[in-house]
């Protein structure tokens, strides 16, 4: 398949889907290559009695544990936080929890406001129409009027508070701290062909009902109807460039394992904050010996994860447990910088409901709470559906030594070098964690919980993969321009989480997609001068 397409998108996840849909109106010939396949609703774990067990098997969040043919291994031994993702149509949104906050206006101006890291070359106001467009496409439930944000209008009513949420609300009110129902992509009403959520309570390993807005059921059907050609089971090995330093296409392995070349006028990378630097580094050539688009040396550097610290306790009566969406509320009480604290920037609290019986038993056995022997039953009955937990979601600052490189030994099923992740939790983050954990314990106490425990950080909590090919106006200090084009290769664009300049302290997908739509819009506006 060597005839030249206009646009070749690599990766069919959150950002790739949004770009494909947006560019489709140009009627250009658009192809998307995705290494995984489609997941059918009946395959999701919540359809079977082994629904909890499969979180450790074929629906594990870690690609190293899941180890499907579509997955590539990641050496994350030198990181206290392990990478989690999904490789298939929908990308990691197939397994995401659908928590959908936007970055705050201040997140785009951290150098100006706080003297750390760098400002973004775009701001909240510029992205606002794309946030709104993305919300419409993804279908967002929530409640207007949150004092922590500029005005915005979710499409659907918020998720129920339930017993757990009411307890959280009472606790936060008693402390006088901000809380608000989360924006989520879980449909609370029928929305664009999606049925309203019926509380399967098992959102993360994939929603069998289709209430969760993963991009395989939001953007992709619309993009396919508009003529985008999505080819599954196609793993890209490298991006090929010519003597003029322009991308000419990609070499990939098709579903039968046959090596192929696909020529393209424009290449768009949407492989996430680990997959994208991996592919750029694997595309080194005589002209680009340090990896493609890497004259700044920043490809793979400044990886940000958002360390997640879970603080949990047990209430004196049963609350919602697993009988509703795992996430329901957020608090931005400590989100913005306060000069009185010993750290800059801030964190979000993300409030959870609970877990099912197997997860409760496994986690409590691992942390030593649940004994062996006769006592097991009594302690388990005192625990089931009583757990309440919240996460301290920390803004980690970009640090050059936190990075993605190529592992010298590890390879995927096609023999392509696999990524290696080196990451440490920075000093500013540590101070923030201490502050957040102390306050999370006060919240749990105010919610009437005892037996308080802390998991710092959540081990398999590397779900936000950001910063490894950052945006900027200065080619020496960034990989892509303020509209997503690589400084070094004028027909190569990056639209995924790797272009984040800083991380903020919220789940990033809403902002990743708004940025992707913004970049697509810029491309459409500049079609005549795209390569100038």
């Amino acid at each position: 398949m060597a005839d030249t397409v206009d646009v070749l998108i690599i990766g069919a996840g959150a950002s790739g889907a949004a770009v494909a849909w947006s560019l489709a109106e140009t009627k250009m010939r658009i192809v998307c290559l995705e290494q995984g396949g489609w997941t059918r609703p009946e395959e999701f774990p919540s359809t079977g009695r082994d629904w909890e067990a499969r979180q450790n098997g074929d629906f594990a969040t870690s690609p190293n544990v899941r180890a499907r043919p579509a997955d590539y291994p990641i050496n994350d031994d030198n990181s206290p936080i392990k990478v989690v993702n999904f490789n298939g149509v929908g990308g990691s949104t197939v397994l995401y929890t659908g928590h959908f906050p936007r970055l705050h206006p201040s997140d785009f101006k951290v150098r100006t406001l706080d003297g750390v890291a760098d400002d973004w070359p775009v701001d909240y106001e510029t992205l606002a129409p794309f946030f709104a467009e993305n919300d419409r496409m993804m279908g967002v439930s929530g409640l207007a009027g949150d004092p922590a944000y500029p005005p915005k209008q979710p499409q659907m009513k918020p998720l129920p508070l339930g017993r757990t949420g009411a307890r959280w609300g009472q606790a936060m009110n008693s402390l006088g701290w901000h809380w608000w129902p989360s924006d989520t992509t879980l449909a609370t009403e029928a929305y664009e062909g999606r049925a309203a959520c019926i509380n399967l309570g098992h959102c993360t390993p994939g929603c069998a009902q289709g209430a969760k807005g993963s991009v395989d059921i939001t953007y992709w059907p619309a993009a396919l109807r508009a003529g985008v050609d999505l080819r599954t089971g196609c793993r890209v090995r490298e991006i090929v460039t010519n003597d003029a330093g322009m991308a000419t296409g990609v070499i990939y392995y098709d579903a039968e394992g046959v090596e192929r070349f696909q020529a393209a006028e424009v290449v768009v990378l949407a492989c996430n904050g680990v997959g994208t630097p991996r592919l750029l580094l694997n595309s080194a050539s005589a002209r680009f010996p340090e990896g493609l688009a890497n004259s700044s040396g920043l490809v793979g550097r400044n990886l940000m994860f958002h360390p997640y610290i879970q603080v949990f306790g047990y209430s004196d009566e049963a609350v919602d447990g697993n009988r509703g969406s795992p996430l329901c509320l957020w608090s931005k009480e400590f989100y913005e910088t306060d000069p009185a604290r010993d750290f800059v920037r801030g964190y979000m609290f993300q409030f959870n409901r609970g877990t099912g019986p197997v997860s409760e038993a496994v986690i409590s056995t691992e942390n030593g709470r649940l004994p062996f022997g006769k006592e097991h039953h009594t302690v388990f009955r005192r625990s089931l559906h009583r757990k309440m937990s919240l996460s301290v979601v920390v803004e980690d600052l970009p640090e050059a030594h936190n990075r993605v490189t190529l592992d010298p030994v590890l390879k995927d099923g096609h023999g392509i070098p696999a990524p290696k992740v080196d990451y440490t939790v920075g000093e500013n983050s540590r101070r923030m964690i201490e502050h957040g954990v102390a306050r999370a314990k006060r919240i749990l106490a105010a919610a009437g919980c005892g037996d308080i425990g802390v998991q710092n950080p959540i081990l398999y909590g590397g779900w936000h993969l950001l910063g490894t090919a950052r945006m900027g106006t200065d080619p020496e200090r960034s990989v892509v321009s303020e509209w997503g084009r690589c400084h070094d290769v004028k027909n190569l664009f990056i639209v995924d989480g790797s272009i984040f300049v800083t991380a903020g302290a919220v789940n990033p997908t809403s902002t990743i997609q708004a940025l992707a739509l913004y970049i697509a819009d810029q491309m459409k506006q500049r079609l005549a001068t795209l390569f100038d």
Binding site: D50, A166, A361
Partner: protein
Amino acid sequence: MTEQAVLSADERRGLAGFAGVMIPASAEYAVPGADDPAIVADMVSTLGRDAPWVRAALQRLDALAEGCFADLPEARREDVAHRLREEGGAALATLCRVVLQCYYRDDRVLLSLGIEPRPPFPKGHVLEQGDWSLLDPVRQRASMWRRVE
């Protein structure tokens, strides 16, 4: 994969012995132990990718028992199982998870906990709305996002 192919008869007895120490039957709650034959059969038939780790943990139990763990008298089995728990490690974590994920999906156990034995889909669950007036104090707060200009 047949049950025999996954674990040998001795390994299977070791698995049952460990499971029985972890979660013994309880007359008080009217539940079987995790060494109940149907629950052990579920573990064995669904071991899959966990088999190497479980086998490693069972071998470690035999090593700590200085013989066959399954043949030890009950009190000694408890002692050895607790020693393995103190040692920790990935093999033990897998063994415990395998026991727990089969125990806590057994119909008898779930019913004793007041849980309907079924997958979440398609019935889902009923979640009460909760009292939204709790949000009134927050609604009254002044805008708190940081202005950039």
